[in-house]
Symmetry: C2
Subunit: 658 residues, 2 copies
């Protein structure tokens, strides 16, 4: 029953959250207000169809709600396109499309529920000389007397000069405000935190030994934080979270759109990430048993869009040619200027960016892998929601960005999902029987005990395995087309074309078959083709015809099977033992910059030196990309894949097969 | 009628302000909440008796109030002491003492109304080479292209280097955030504001020529602001206001107490002064026809206590021996850090302080008068609510602070008031008839057309004149005692001792005789004795026995009659033509520092060099002070006052006169 005055009741199942909201809002908006997680990979654009919800008809005596389909706006064109007629009949709507005009009960099916993504951004072992920006000095001051009533700050400076030869110091305004109290609390013995040898950013009573810093990697999807002890370099706590901006758009383009089209969109997303990082700072500090205010330094990486939004800088220009960033160089600003609640006087170091689409995260990878110190011709692939590529060696380095789209993260895949509990993350198809074996991520993030049950969808690594296996089993051909002649009950013709059943309904938690369809294969082809084409154009720019080493950076790199990636042709031919994953190198880069200020200087220098290659302006980009969509490529040879692709010619392919 | 639930009605006359307030508050608190100005020089301590109000008994049909004396807490001891029995009978109460327990109507008599003080802090002519901290540079940038997608900030830096040889620049975070928009708004032509040749603090689209700065003098009682055009040095608008902290205590000691005893007292006073300066910035900008955000620099002076509170630094330690300040040196901080709303990236320069009681205002005087460049032995007296003294020449300089108390500002004087409309500011007593002629400050700040009417009290210069004249007329003797033998109807014996009528009730606006009483004379003696004793001890430290020049700085210096000041012995003997007033030299010092960065460096150097003399630790301080309380001094000779003091011995006085 609607309550006059524009207020209506909405009730979500199974979370049982209920509230009065203003009539006219979409179900998605209502869910966001009530903190009910509903999937949505397109940022509410009505293109992904992931936010399916079911409307329950009837009366809930407990909440006094009479829920009716008529209490929603009529089906939109988008819904008619993305919902099957069966779903429409069963009361399904898209949460981003349906607007609430009267009381309703909304049931969020499991496949539409946003779950916390399993974060694999772990802290790798890094070796770096300790040279942090913040160091502590303990001094004892002579108490003021009538004959020597020198100001506390001048008294402190005199002592720091005498004992440690520190001169020309300044003091942070907040530290100055607390100085007198701290000096007397410590009975004239205090510990100062000095930043870059020049600014006192904090004072503490008595002797305080340890100081701490936080390295933060702001991914489009995941934000990871590493709390380090600056005096030893140890990581003493880590935590990560789904980037809270995900609600405003799944990828950087969706976020740029949100910032450009929504009033205060930038502020909303900026506040969301700041709040998120504050949470991570608080959680890691609590876990390590320190106060959040003991965190005296911070180093941050992120792609250029994340970097801009984090700094409150309009990312709009990044979305328009020629995509210039607001700045390239690294930046040191007071953390409090951004609303970050760590030590009040602490600075924040944001690593430089290389270009509009090659960000500070890539610079982080750069200073970890140091290709500029190698003779080998290296290619570094950092695939997140966007693909960032580095290629070269000590002589010359180029970088590029490729629009992989979100397929590698499970989006734009019919049964795609994030690498969360329930996701199929590995698969194997018997080339003879075409029977499937798969592994599902368990509730705890590990694989389920019984691997082949409870699947809710397929994540990025799972879909790459599936496509590679389908190709190797002859179910799809080199162009990506399904070979409908193959005799297996799993391959069937559906409304939208052929599809292959990976998991039968009984093996899932969603009560329906999980399939890979033709469009899924196409989307993977587009994604891997983009990386491959980028590599080819970069090789051409460098004048080389082979790669010595391929490094897969990013969380994704750890998960994917490098053989599957090689088989589908995600990158040019390379010795398999020289293809390896390095984990979250961007996060490692942030840690290195946190622990060593020389690496900050190096990052600035290397980011300036690297040549950014705008791939799309190459005149034959389209052709290169088209050829790269084939498995593994239309014409390139793959001598190192002989053992995997026995049935294929290793030379140039002269025409289409199929 | 009281309204249950602890809410009572209070109605103020003649302002007709009315509100429901929580029962139990004092009338003073209620008045503050309703913005009804009630005098109060002791900060609510119950010592000044200035906040007399009258309670109206009866019913106000308009506001539905039945006002009764019983609706207030009983008379306190303080009230019994400070209110005459007649006043008590007539329904008078002290606003700081009486607590409201039921509905009341409060009438605020004229003498208790807080009026806007006449501010005489005008901008004097100063000559200074223009070398401001902020300069503007206009550049045209090459638009970004796909081949040259350099970040906007790096693009700007490259152009500034090419055109103006400016290197190693940083950019303020707020300026950075607006950069891309501004660059495109200006069609790639922008004007940058550069601070100290190293930080871009603001960017504006197109060509912008002028930049502005604000010089601020935070006095204990008065805050003055001078808006200057930085490119010409012109003062384009000035304004001033009563320091809004006055409500929390009249002098620095009262404010220190307020900060120490009231929870959030410091924050409250800090916010009050910041809001006040924001108001002054807004008003002066409006008057000059510019935006407040066009103010790109600020220089601030103030005594050490005002300096600390302005910076949000606890002034508590300034109130306890050895009175060390938090810092001596000048400070450059972002204006926004303090909540000052001028240009978002603007800095604020706070001049250095010399000691706990010789503040940045004194340093301002120092760089204006430059005694360190003179051969003459100079004494500079800056008397505000506190007295700050400088003495010396190019060879050596000492400074000191003396506790004059607020008597020179009309406080602690029975009919004392600030230099506001209605104040008697000049007086003359005929030595034969003892008849009085006086001048009253008019509504417009000038003297009234009919000088001898409408007096509401006596301000500082008036009381000095009155005491000097009473002394010259033989009504008081050299020790300050009333000579009750003098035959005049104006001299009469009252409850508290003898008193002299300056203005008869008919000549006043308050309906009662305005008198000078014995205690008033004593308070003036204490104040002038403090200055004189300070001067004596400083002369001793410098090893000199005469002064070549006496400079009276501060608003007070302009108002007082230097002959009257000489006659009562405010300072040692000096040729009358070498005693002169320089107006608000502290404010001039702020302006000089605003316009020339070299003077900032000079201020820091000179403030460090000057020797601070803690007067009260001299073993014979008491004796020197006691002798200095006499008119003009117990034993010193005043050869330059021969014409004014014909009847007195000019040599040592051997004993008391009667």
């Amino acid at each position: 029953m609607s309550k006059g005055s524009g207020q209506v009741k909405v009730f979500f199942l199974p979370s049982e959250r209920c509230a009065d909201i203003v009539s006219g809002k979409s179900i998605r908006q209502a869910a966001r207000e009530l903190d009910v997680g509903i999937e949505g990979l397109c940022g509410g654009e009505g293109t992904c169809g992931k936010c399916k919800v079911r409307i329950e008809e009837g009366i809930s005596p407990r909440y006094g709600i009479e829920s009716r389909m008529e209490n929603l706006s009529p089906l939109t064109k988008t819904e008619k396109k993305l919902l099957t007629s069966g779903q429409q009949r069963d009361g399904y709507r898209l949460a981003c499309q349906a607007r609430i005009r009267g009381d309703i009960i909304v049931s969020v099916p499991e496949e539409s529920r946003q779950v916390n993504q399993i974060v694999r951004k772990a802290a790798g072992d890094i070796t770096v000389e300790l040279k942090p920006a913040v160091r502590k000095y303990c001094v004892e001051l002579k108490p003021a007397t009538l004959d020597d009533a020198l100001g506390d700050w001048e008294r402190l400076q005199a002592e720091l000069k005498k004992r440690f030869k520190l001169v020309n110091l300044t003091i942070d305004y907040r530290a100055l405000r607390s100085l007198q109290r701290v000096v007397r609390q410590g009975n004239w013995r205090i510990t100062v935190s000095l930043w870059m040898g020049r600014e006192v950013i904090g004072v503490e009573p008595g002797v305080v030994e340890n100081s701490y810093g936080l390295a933060v990697d702001i991914g489009t999807t995941t934000v990871a934080a590493y709390l380090c002890r600056l005096s030893t370099g140890d990581v003493i706590a880590t935590d990560s979270m789904v980037n809270p901006q995900v609600s405003y758009g799944e990828d950087v383009i969706a976020r740029i759109n949100y910032a450009m089209t929504c009033k205060e969109g930038l502020e909303v997303m900026n506040r969301a990430i700041i709040r998120g990082i504050n949470d991570l700072a608080g959680k890691t500090a609590a876990r390590a048993g320190i106060k959040r205010s003991a965190i005296a330094d911070m180093a941050v990486v992120g792609n250029t869009c994340m970097h801009h939004i984090f700094l409150g800088i309009d990312p709009g220009y990044l979305g328009q040619s020629p995509f210039p960033p607001a700045l390239h160089r690294s930046l040191d600003i007071k953390a409090r200027e951004l609303g970050l609640r760590i030590a009040p006087g602490a600075y924040l170091h944001v690593l430089p960016v290389e270009a509009g689409f090659v960000g500070a995260d890539n610079v982080g990878v750069l200073i970890v892998e140091e290709p500029y110190r190698q003779d080998d011709m290296v290619m570094i692939i950092d695939v997140g929601t966007n693909g960032e590529l580095i290629m070269g060696n000590r002589d010359r380095l180029v970088s590029a960005s490729c629009a992989t789209g979100p397929a590698f993260e499970g989006a734009e895949i019919r049964y795609g999902m994030r690498a969360a509990p329930g996701a199929i993350e590995k698969g194997l198809i018997d080339p003879d029987t075409r029977e499937v074996r798969f592994k599902v991520i368990g509730k705890d993030g590990g694989n389920t005990e019984l691997d082949q049950v409870g699947a809710g969808g397929i994540c990025g690594s799972g879909i790459i395995d599936a496509v590679a296996q389908l190709f190797l089993a002859g179910v799809i051909d080199r162009t990506g087309r399904f070979n409908t002649d193959v005799d297996t009950i799993r391959l069937r013709k559906a409304e939208g074309g052929p599809e292959f059943v990976i998991a039968w309904a009984g093996e899932t938690s969603i009560g329906q078959d999980i399939v890979v369809c033709q469009q899924d294969v196409r989307n993977i082809q587009l994604a891997k083709g983009a990386v491959y084409a980028g590599a080819k154009l970069m090789m051409r720019r460098l004048g080389i015809d082979k790669l010595d080493k391929i490094i897969l950076a990013g969380a994704f790199g750890i998960c994917i099977d490098k053989e599957s990636a090689s088989v589908i042709g995600m990158f040019p031919d390379c010795a398999q033992e020289e293809v390896y994953a390095v984990g979250n190198a961007a996060g490692d880069g942030a840690r290195i910059a946190l622990l060593n200020v020389d690496k900050r200087v190096e990052a600035d220098r290397r980011a300036r030196e690297i040549e950014y290659l705008e791939l799309t302006v190459a005149p034959d980009f389209g052709e290169v990309f088209t050829r790269a969509m084939w498995f593994p490529n239309m014409e390139d040879s793959f001598p190192h894949l002989k053992h995997l692709l026995p049935g294929f010619k290793q030379g140039l392919a002269k025409g289409r097969e199929g």
